[in-house]
Symmetry: C2
Subunit: 122 residues, 2 copies
């Protein structure tokens, strides 16, 4: 790999926001954070890997839940300070078992729930 | 409006990341930042308004360029610490005059440009 993850721009904590989008539906699934090593691992393994700010550890998405994200395309923005991972998502992306973390809208001043948790067949 | 923007979770600088997605194509256009007042203004005016970290000022998207974002739906994620604005975008979203800021991919270790600047008919 010639691409150097260090050429992206990280914040003062060494992190860059990463948006995950479903490669088929275009649905935005979640937003989490990566550091340069998580970017490198994601590109090298094809398994989307974030940096967990709460656990201060690598977070290979789906490692415990099975809800993995297979990398389809890796993109970044004009300022090189935000990543977009286009993914094939197994199962729900959200820890609430909803397809996407963005399941709440504000409409006419009220919070509206847009989707219900998926029933896990397992 | 009953929804209180202060119920979202902002970082230590009082900011929350906001992803803009085109309401028709599903394309992810850009990512920028809002503070609670920018959230309030966005909801009240229907014109997407960010907080410019470089200028330390409100940034009514398109105010100078004309490339405005009309709010179609306002959503936030399960942790209440990331916003998704679904928008009707006039013209290109990116300051480089590309439709989206995410015009660069990393493929087989190389940076690949996915889209060219739009020609402004004006």
């Amino acid at each position: 790999m010639n691409f150097d993850p260090q050429t992206l721009r990280y914040d003062e904590k060494g992190l860059i926001p990463a948006i995950a989008q479903d490669h088929e539906s275009g649905q935005i699934l979640m937003m989490a954070w990566m550091n340069a090593d998580a970017v490198r691992q994601t590109l090298e393994t094809g398994r989307v890997t974030y940096w967990s700010r709460s656990r201060q550890a690598f977070w290979v998405k789906g490692e415990s839940s099975g809800h993995v994200q297979k990398l389809v395309d890796f993109r970044f923005d004009c300022d090189r300070d935000c990543v977009l991972v286009v993914v094939a998502q197994s199962g729900p992306a959200c820890h609430t078992l909803r397809q996407s973390c963005f399941y709440t809208a504000v409409r006419e001043g009220a919070e509206v729930e847009l989707m219900a948790p998926l029933i896990d067949p397992a």
